[in-house]
């Protein structure tokens, strides 16, 4: 059978892209020796930085969950003047170059800005602290959380909420007894997306806080100081641990077949 040229084009482009993504990753994962992997894993600095990356990004995901969920619900359910602008503002952190994010955050947190002075009075500094890193991670991760959860809320029929209200539930009652049980999976997915984005952040973090060292900064440091061989095992461990965590979360949020 003759295969159409257009079908060929689609298949070859797809294969090219898959190869482009997978080959470098596979190559990197396979290159370090087992001994190097074990040795790296026993390095307290490495473990600390990976743990810090994971926990700081989890904190960013939690903050996104608490603040982002009501916002995503508002965007999914209401139309109001300026909504499009608001949605664009939510997407801004995706588009801004990463170092610019860091500089922007520092410029309001500095001593010359009233917010910076206020934060200082409260004992909060962003420069060179874990707080600063979590702030950066939340900044870059929020759009992913909000957009995912907004789509999740939009998929739940307003009519189900309306019926709940007509049966006597208040606005919050309808949310917690109908909307939330139907939407929590999208919240888990949103938090995974937010965490993934937060863990991968480098450019903004390196400006706000080189220390305490997150994994991406450590990988960069080892690469510039000692070369590719020394940075690879850290990168591989970071990938493996993240993969494990995300699979775990995904597993708990898989939709049972009966409710599809």
């Amino acid at each position: 059978m003759k295969i159409e040229p257009f079908l060929w084009l689609m298949i070859s482009c797809s294969l090219l892209i898959i190869a482009f993504i997978l080959l470098p990753l596979i190559e990197m994962v396979l290159q370090p020796t087992a001994a190097a992997m074990v040795e790296t894993f026993q390095d307290a600095d490495v473990l600390r930085s990976i743990f810090f990356s994971v926990s700081a990004s989890a904190a960013a995901a939690l903050i996104s969950f608490v603040l982002g969920t009501p916002f995503a619900y508002l965007l999914a359910r209401r139309t109001f003047p300026g909504k499009k602008i608001m949605e664009s503002i939510v997407d801004l952190p995706i588009m801004i170059p990463h170092p610019v994010v860091g500089i922007a955050l520092l410029s309001i947190a500095g001593r010359n800005h009233w917010i910076g002075q206020l934060l200082q009075k409260m004992g909060i500094t962003l420069m060179g602290t874990a707080t600063g890193i979590i702030a950066v991670m939340t900044f870059v991760g929020l759009p992913f959380y909000i957009n995912t959860v907004k789509t999740g809320f939009e998929a739940i029929p307003v009519r189900a909420e309306n019926v709940a209200r007509s049966l006597g539930a208040s606005r919050s009652g309808a949310f917690f007894r109908v909307t939330f049980p139907l939407a929590w999976r999208s919240m888990v997915v949103g938090m995974i997306m937010c965490m993934a984005r937060a863990i991968s952040e480098f450019g903004a973090i390196v400006i706000v806080a080189y220390h305490p060292m997150v994994a991406s900064v450590m990988i960069y440091e080892r690469f510039t100081a000692y070369g590719i061989k020394y940075s690879q095992p850290v990168a591989v461990w970071l990938i493996l641990i993240c993969l494990f965590l995300f699979l775990l979360l995904r597993f708990f949020s898989i939709q049972p077949k009966s409710t599809t």
Binding site: T79, P157, R159, A160, N162, V163, A164, R165, S166, L167, G168, A169, S170, R171, G173, R177, V178, P181, L182, S258, T259
Partner: protein
């Protein structure tokens, strides 16, 4: 009783204009109209889901215009049932109890009666996701009635159902209304449903009520060309009037004697036109020779288009009669209709 006074709702791109409507206590009332006429909007303003711009909504004498939905005591059943997919049938039906200070035990007997009435006993532990369309609507109705609402709003409850289920649910609605006497306001675009279920009806078009009255009144005496078309009067012609005569182009119709000064149209139901080879009717007026243009077989009935000197009439015949008469396209036949069947608008 539901009373709407000068109800106006403004949405981007759509306005409900000064709707005045009264649904009497214990009445089954239908709101008719094509898609996009604003029928569902009226239901949603009564149930409090959308804010109203002006006017008042009264339920059983109480002004509920500014009340939140949960305090209005309005039961609502949607076309797609809107069941809660994460809860089983039992939990769906019991959902509202806690908000009315009831426990399952307290209202046990009443609940059992509702569940039995809708024949849901064997489904209680099932997931609502895999129910049939008819079962879903039965659960949705049981859920609405479990909290004893003062009025029941139905948003095209039969539209999404297969024909078999549609008849089943329609019969359930009729019996339910007869046995409980609950006030029902149902939205539909199907006049047959209104005929079967309702005492009174209102026809809505582009956010305005075109006509309200008993179902028979609206069906036989439509007051606007839109309503006439909506209730299936296929033959609507602009006409000039002179006492008991109407002129449609060069055709002269004898019409009932009444004040026809401000009338603009004549309308004749397609089933009121008699088609035959020779004039078999005893009346001497409204007899025309017509050419059979097309015949459309629609199952039990057939549409037949007839040309009378350039004016196209549409008649309906039982398909069996059509076979018996063996009309052919292009054949010249005779059409008649009695003067009292000519409706003036």
């Amino acid at each position: 009783m539901i009373q709407l006074r000068d109800l106006s709702v403004k949405l981007p791109g759509f306005t409900l204009k000064e709707i005045n409507l009264t649904v009497e206590k214990g009445e089954f009332f239908t709101l008719l109209g094509p898609t996009g006429a604003g029928k569902t909007l009226i239901l949603e303003s009564i149930s409090g889901m959308i804010p109203i711009h002006r006017g008042t909504i009264t339920i059983n004498g109480k002004d509920v215009s500014k009340m939140p939905p949960e305090r209005r005591g309005v039961g609502i059943v949607y076309q797609d049932s809107a069941l809660f997919p994460h809860l089983n049938v039992r939990k769906n039906i019991f959902f509202g109890l806690r908000y009315h200070g009831k426990t399952v035990r307290q209202s046990g007997k009443a609940l059992d009666a509702i569940i039995e009435w809708f024949s849901l006993e064997h489904l209680l532990d099932r997931s609502v996701v895999n129910l049939s369309g008819g079962e879903k609507q039965r659960v949705a109705m049981a859920r609405a009635l479990a909290v004893d609402p003062s009025v029941l709003l139905l948003d095209e409850p039969l539209s999404a159902l297969d024909p078999g289920f549609r008849e089943e649910i329609r019969d359930i609605l009729k019996t339910l209304h007869e046995e409980t006497g609950i006030t029902v306001l149902m939205v539909t675009h199907d006049f047959v449903e209104a005929h079967y279920l309702a005492q009174r009806t209102a026809v809505l078009n582009a956010g305005l009520i075109e006509q309200a009255g008993t179902v028979a009144d609206v069906f036989y005496r439509p007051s606007t060309p839109f309503v006439a078309r909506f209730v299936g009067m296929k033959n609507i012609f602009p006409a000039k009037f002179d006492k008991d005569v109407a002129w449609v182009d060069d055709l002269q119709f004898t019409i009932p004697h009444s004040d026809n000064r401000f009338r603009k149209y004549v309308a004749i139901r397609p089933e009121d036109i008699c088609v035959s080879r020779t004039n078999i009717s005893k009346i001497a007026t409204n007899i025309f020779n017509a050419t059979v243009m097309r015949i459309f077989n629609k199952g039990i009935f057939s549409d037949i288009r007839l040309d009378v000197s350039g004016t196209v009439f549409q008649a309906i015949l039982p398909t069996s009669a059509l076979y018996r008469m063996n009309f052919a396209e292009g054949e010249t036949v005779c059409i008649t209709f009695t003067p009292e069947r000519v409706h003036v608008i």
